[in-house]
């Protein structure tokens, strides 16, 4: 049986979800954003909640998330997505509300909004894309940049003396009583993405159960910023990021 026959006679086992638009993503080749967008879109489709989901997009590379996920979106000022989500969920409790933020957005400029939304136990899903670098502005250092990592603003490598320590926001968030679910995933392989999808689904479900905030971090790559090929960036991430930011479910109450 050749390829043409399989396509003609076989089962369609995977096609792009309708929750993703047909617009080509502006992301660099191999960028994790695309995979996470897809994971969110598939969860929304599987849960049948497209009509009831409102996304809050950040400032950074994923500012244009609204062009790719075919749902209603609010585009927030840098770091403020959790504040928008707070009001949106409180004013429309019957909707599924999620934020999508990068490390600069959530762990640097928006640290206060993130922590306080979690501490209030807002019934939202917060998605945190951590690739340890500022992508859109051209590869500057983030709070989550690893010690020794070279970026545009740490050209000889980040040092503790100059820049302090790599910030583990997720670990800071986890003990807060307002938070019901904290998990750290990656999206570098299909297996990892399947696990991520289960976490996202759990987060969406929690948001309707009045249980508090769900927080899902995705350890990601920025191969352009890291100056590596996409596949090499994934390998570098597994080798260097995973030991600092270990994957797994941190809290599930």
């Amino acid at each position: 049986m050749d390829v043409k026959e399989i396509i003609a006679k076989g089962d369609l086992v995977y096609e792009k979800t309708k929750v993703l638009t047909d617009k080509e993503m502006h992301y660099c080749p191999g960028c994790t954003h695309g995979t996470v967008h897809k994971a969110i879109a598939e969860v929304i489709e599987e849960m049948g909640i497209q009509e009831k989901t409102i996304g809050i997009s950040p400032v950074g590379c994923s500012v244009f998330a609204y062009e790719y996920l075919h749902i209603d979106w609010q585009q927030a000022a840098h770091g403020r997505a959790p504040a928008l989500a707070t009001a949106t969920k409180r004013l429309m409790p019957e909707k599924y509300v999620f934020t999508y933020q990068g490390d600069g957005d959530i762990a640097s400029i928006g640290c206060a909004e993130a922590i306080h939304a979690c501490n209030r136990g807002e019934n939202i899903l917060m998605i945190f894309i951590n690739n340890g670098i500022y992508g859109m502005t051209g590869g500057q250092m983030a709070p989550t940049t690893l010690d020794g990592m070279k970026t545009a603003t740490s050209p000889t490598g980040r040092t503790v003396e100059q820049n302090g320590y790599t910030l583990d926001l997720t670990k800071m968030i986890a003990p807060l009583p307002g938070v019901c679910y904290v998990a750290r995933h990656s999206a570098d392989t299909a297996a990892a993405t399947r696990k991520l999808k289960r976490a996202l689904k759990k987060g969406f479900e929690n948001s309707m159960k009045n249980k508090g905030t769900s927080f899902v971090e995705v350890i990601s790559t920025c191969n352009s910023g890291w100056k590596m090929s996409p596949v090499a960036a994934n390998e570098w991430m597994r080798e260097n990021m995973f030991p600092v930011f270990p994957l797994g479910t941190i809290k599930d109450e």
């Binding site: 049986m1 390829v3 399989i6 076989g10 089962d11 096609e15 570098d188 299909a190 399947r194 994934n234």
Partner: protein, 80 residues
């Protein structure tokens, strides 16, 4: 035992040639095409179609979601 047969269709013009699908394929079915698409990327293609089991790994890990996957189960293969 009859193997599951799979096939993938890559949307060539949308493929950015990142190679993540190739890396994530458990059967080494995929490879970069020598030719380039309209954007100048060496897109992914089925170099060894006979190896494809239709597992969808490539499609799921593709950041740009440009891959569609088909599969024929062994029972169906017998009947055809």
């Amino acid at each position: 035992m009859a193997k599951v047969k799979g096939a993938v269709v890559v949307d060539i013009e949308k493929c950015k040639g990142c190679g993540i699908c190739i890396d994530d394929c458990p059967t080494d079915t995929l490879a970069f095409e020598r030719a380039v698409n309209g954007k100048g990327y060496h897109y992914a293609y089925m170099k060894a179609p006979e190896l494809c089991i239709g597992c969808s790994n490539c499609a799921i890990s593709c950041p740009d979601t440009v891959i569609t996957v088909y599969r024929v189960k062994p029972e169906r293969k017998k009947t055809s």
